[in-house]
């Protein structure tokens, strides 16, 4: 359907985004906050934003997503939202009884200049925060950055506002999770335990957004990092930030506040990035990589070798979020594929620079990020130079259908499939799954389009 509305000629657009490849900050903050146990995210703004964010997360995870709102009206928008937030905090603690409220701002409260730090302090001074309970905050204006920025900001908020340093280090390693799926966070915990490294993972949305059916609607499902654990991250011996855009800012903040040295690695998507992650983890924990993990890696390499002819030279268009695009692009190159068109609505110099480095191996690739780097542009590029495969979130399906391109869903949001939150997308296991998915769609396409005489059992 987009087909006839997409012109082939690419023109510089001045102020217009068509079919965005990003969304706004608060949804990221809301997702990150759900990675704390007993946390109720709170949207400081009007009801609409909160409702949209909850709906989108609900569609992506097929799970109930709770969040409260300050319910701004015209009054609040003129006189400021302090009164709304103060009364919201009281209401929330008395009725929903969370361990912590994680407040994020919206465009609206940002523009009127509400100061979340000052308001939450006032709430505390006025005795509105019960003993042993907490209110944290993050500033998440949507006219800056994108949803991934909001995630990063909330993780910084939880680090800065919870971490304390007792002066005595323990033997744990913090793993600061960039924006990934509950399944990925589960995989990180599994990898660490197989390596024998004691970690503190945060945020951790596993067991929150992939909760089992119990016959109850649990307002605060069992998962998430507890506040007690979160407080100890200042005493950990080091941190690994998984993702330079969504996780590193928190690592920096923690180093500043509690002197916890950190290393940043790419999200472990694909072989090379997973290798680096495992090395970083084994180094930080002072352990050797066990044979079992080496074997798992070997199986991935084996499949990559077995199937190399199917990947080689295939052109790929991909879109998504920075922390995923960087290692994903690298992995495609490692598979012998050719990343051709890449867009990300998320702006950022560091991202741009790193992508340029990675794409040195892919001469002639188109890459654009920030405003106007949208799905419309992606479609135009594809029209001008067709590709063999498209990888990205659900919104890619329009292009895939119009252009009849094999399509692998990867990233956020995925509204029309399941799996992303249940099976890992990272690590050797996740990479193997990605390889399988790519092969699956390529071969399905080949089977579907093969000439009658060339249609064969063994491919």
């Amino acid at each position: 359907m987009l087909l006839r509305h997409t012109s082939k000629e690419v023109k510089e657009r001045e102020g217009l985004t068509i079919n965005p490849a990003k969304t706004c900050q608060p949804i990221g903050a809301m997702y990150a906050a759900l990675g704390i146990h007993g946390c109720l995210p709170h949207s400081h703004g009007s009801q609409g934003c909160c409702s949209y964010h909850r709906s989108t997360l609900t569609r992506h995870y097929k799970e109930p997503v709770m969040a409260a709102t300050s319910s701004f009206t015209e009054g609040a928008s003129v006189f400021g939202g302090q009164a709304n937030l103060l009364s919201a905090i009281e209401t929330i603690f008395s009725v929903y009884d969370p361990e912590v409220i994680a407040v994020h701002s919206t465009c609206l409260s940002e523009t009127i200049g509400d100061d979340l730090q000052q308001i939450t302090k006032k709430a505390s001074d006025d005795g509105k925060i019960p003993e042993g309970k907490y209110v944290i905050y993050a500033s998440t204006p949507s006219f800056v950055g994108s949803h991934v920025t909001g995630y990063a900001n909330m993780v910084v908020g939880m680090t800065e506002q919870f971490a304390v340093s007792t002066g005595e280090k323990n033997d744990k390693v913090n793993i600061i999770a960039g924006w990934m799926e509950p399944s990925d966070m589960r995989e990180i915990k599994s990898l660490a335990s197989r390596l024998g490294v004691k970690i503190v993972l945060f945020p951790d949305t596993s067991d929150v957004l992939d909760a089992p059916q119990t016959g109850k609607h649990e307002f605060y499902p069992k998962g998430g990092i507890t506040i007690d654990e979160l407080k100890t991250v200042g005493d950990s011996k080091s941190s690994i930030a998984v993702g330079c855009i969504t996780a590193e800012p928190a690592a920096v903040a923690l180093d500043k506040k509690c002197k916890v040295p950190f290393e940043t690695v790419d999200m472990p998507i694909g072989l090379s990035a997973t290798d680096r992650f495992i090395m970083a983890l084994s180094k930080a924990g002072g352990v050797e990589v066990p044979a079992e993990l080496t074997a798992e890696r070997g199986r991935l390499v084996d499949v990559m070798a077995d199937m190399e002819q199917y990947f080689y030279g295939k052109k790929v268009a991909l879109f998504g979020d920075p922390d995923q695009l960087m290692p994903l692009t690298e992995f495609l190159l490692d598979l012998g594929m050719v990343p051709k068109h890449i867009v990300s609505g998320t702006p950022g110099l560091r991202f741009e620079k790193r992508m340029k480095e990675i794409l040195e191996r892919a001469p002639g690739a188109n890459f654009k990020n920030g405003p106007q780097a949208d799905m419309f542009l992606m479609h135009q590029w594809i029209k001008n130079e067709p590709v063999d495969l498209l990888i990205g979130n659900t919104y890619g399906k329009y292009i895939a259908r119009d252009e009849d391109i094999p399509f692998v869903r990867f990233g956020f949001p995925i509204l029309d499939r399941i799996g992303h939150s249940y099976f890992p997308n990272i690590g050797y296991a996740g990479s193997l799954r990605l390889v399988e998915k790519i092969l699956g769609v390529l071969m399905d396409q080949q089977d579907r389009t093969a000439l009658e005489e060339k249609f064969e059992l063994v491919m």
Partner: protein, 461 residues
């Protein structure tokens, strides 16, 4: 509560200040009105949306116009093609256009950007009109979108309509009004030539999963001309000449009652409110329209014939569903209250009773009617939240929840069947065939074998 690891919904109290918005119909219950049309309490987990959401919903299906969301990216991103409002022709409405405001725009204003975007878009797509939605932030920074629209309309010679839908300026209902205001500016602009005396406009039907097509066909079979469907499968030219119709038929949701009233005032077109949901209401909506043209008894004859044929066609299957569903209990939580009435009636035809009935935006009269309609023991809620919903679903032992996106996983977590009666549904629920689909969907969900494995109420009876 304190110190408890897991807070389960069974033990949650009602939100303070919300007691008046919850009512249980019992013998001794006090008479008073249910409080409604209030803004939600700060700090509540409300299922409601905003003004922008309301106007976007109403105008979205106008398919040959461009819809540009003026504001930061989120508002546009979240409303990109999430409603299955289908079009038989152009599909411009399914694209997501945003002025994607950045920090500098917020400081210096976004008018220039909007102007440029509009020009770019109109040049590229040659749409019949453009709708410009102003979101929260635009209201704050004070962009004069009216002036921009005027200027562009003049330069490009098409209607460019501002939709004042700043999210914080009220509720979803105010968004309906804003949308109606924009439509009103189009109505009366086109020629009414060729419009029969026996003609109607269909209002408040959004063609979700093709519903407007079903309805339209019934009326056309009756010999009635449908001038415009507003806004499902909508076309600007039809809307512009819709003042030539003899009657406005407003779909239950009430989102377009404002428009019908205004058209009555300005053009003297009477309106009736109908519902297309359930055999009973669907039949009535055909008869009500036929009755409007008493000088043509053939129209009424035809209506009767349609009702007879259609019901005959679906009756046997419906009996099968009814046999299985009799005695089962349903909970309803939907946007508009009018929809709830139809749902209660429709559920009764398949033998189900309603134990919880609620809406996000009902008014006093709606709730009065609801109270009268409901059985003893039914809980009625206004602007509810997930906690209350779960609480009552469990207490009242519902077998089914009817709601929207955010309610779906709650039902499933509770081990209760679900039916989407919001914009995410993929099958039409309007018309006679729609009632059949509805009963089928409810039947399939309630009878799903998965409930054997999913403990209801955490396994305790």
């Amino acid at each position: 509560m304190k110190g408890k690891e897991v807070m389960d919904t069974q033990n949650i109290s009602l939100l303070e200040g919300r007691q008046k918005q919850v009512y249980e119909k019992t013998a001794g219950a006090p008479e008073g009105d249910i409080a409604c049309e209030k803004t939600s309490l700060s700090g509540s987990v409300s299922q409601r949306a905003c003004v922008f959401c309301g106007s976007r919903v109403v105008l979205y299906p106008v398919a040959d116009a461009i819809h540009i969301v003026h504001g930061p990216i989120g508002c546009a991103a979240y409303t990109w093609d999430i409603r299955g409002a289908v079009s038989s022709g152009p599909e411009l409405h399914r694209l997501s256009f945003s002025s994607d405001l950045q920090e500098m725009d917020v400081i210096y204003g976004g008018e220039k950007k909007l102007y440029k975007s509009l020009i770019e878009l109109i040049d590229q797509y040659q749409p019949k009109a453009a709708f410009i939605y102003s979101t929260c932030i635009i209201g704050l920074i004070g962009d004069d979108i009216d002036a921009v629209c005027k200027k562009v309309a003049k330069e490009k010679g098409i209607p460019v309509l501002p939709v004042h839908s700043e999210g914080f300026k009220g509720t979803k209902k105010d968004g309906y009004k804003a949308a109606c205001n924009a439509l009103m500016k189009l109505i009366g602009q086109g020629s009414t030539e060729g419009i029969s005396k026996y003609s109607i406009n269909i209002l408040g039907e959004f063609n979700l999963a093709g519903e407007a097509w079903i309805i339209r066909e019934y009326y056309e079979k009756m010999g009635i001309q449908v001038v415009a469907t507003m806004t499902g499968d909508g076309r600007i030219d039809d809307i512009r000449r819709s003042h030539g119709a003899s009657l406005n038929v407003v779909q239950c949701s009430g989102s377009m009652t404002t428009l019908a009233k205004e058209m009555e005032e300005k053009y003297g077109i009477p309106y009736i409110r109908v519902s297309y949901f359930g055999f009973e209401d669907m039949s009535k909506s055909l008869y009500d329209v036929a009755q409007h043209f008493p000088e043509r008894p053939d129209i009424m004859e035809k209506a009767k014939e349609i009702v007879r044929d259609e019901i005959k066609q679906y009756y046997p299957e419906m009996q099968k569903f009814k046999a299985a569903l009799t005695g089962k209990k349903a909970a309803i939580y939907v946007g508009g209250a009018f929809k709830t009435f139809s749902l209660i009636k429709a559920l009764r035809t398949v033998g189900m009773s309603v134990v919880l009935a609620g809406s996000q935006t009902g008014n006093k009269q709606d709730y009065k009617n609801l109270k009268e309609m409901c059985d003893e023991g039914t809980v009625i809620v206004d602007d509810s939240n997930p906690v209350e919903l779960s609480k009552f679903i469990l207490e009242k032992e519902a077998d089914l929840l009817i709601g929207g996106v955010k309610e779906r996983p709650i039902a499933f977590k509770l081990g209760v069947a679900f039916c989407d009666h919001n914009h995410e549904r993929k099958i039409p629920l309007a018309g006679f065939i729609g009632m059949y689909y509805f009963a089928k969907e409810v039947y399939e969900s309630v009878m799903s074998p998965v409930w054997q494995f999913a403990p209801r109420k955490g396994g305790v009876k």
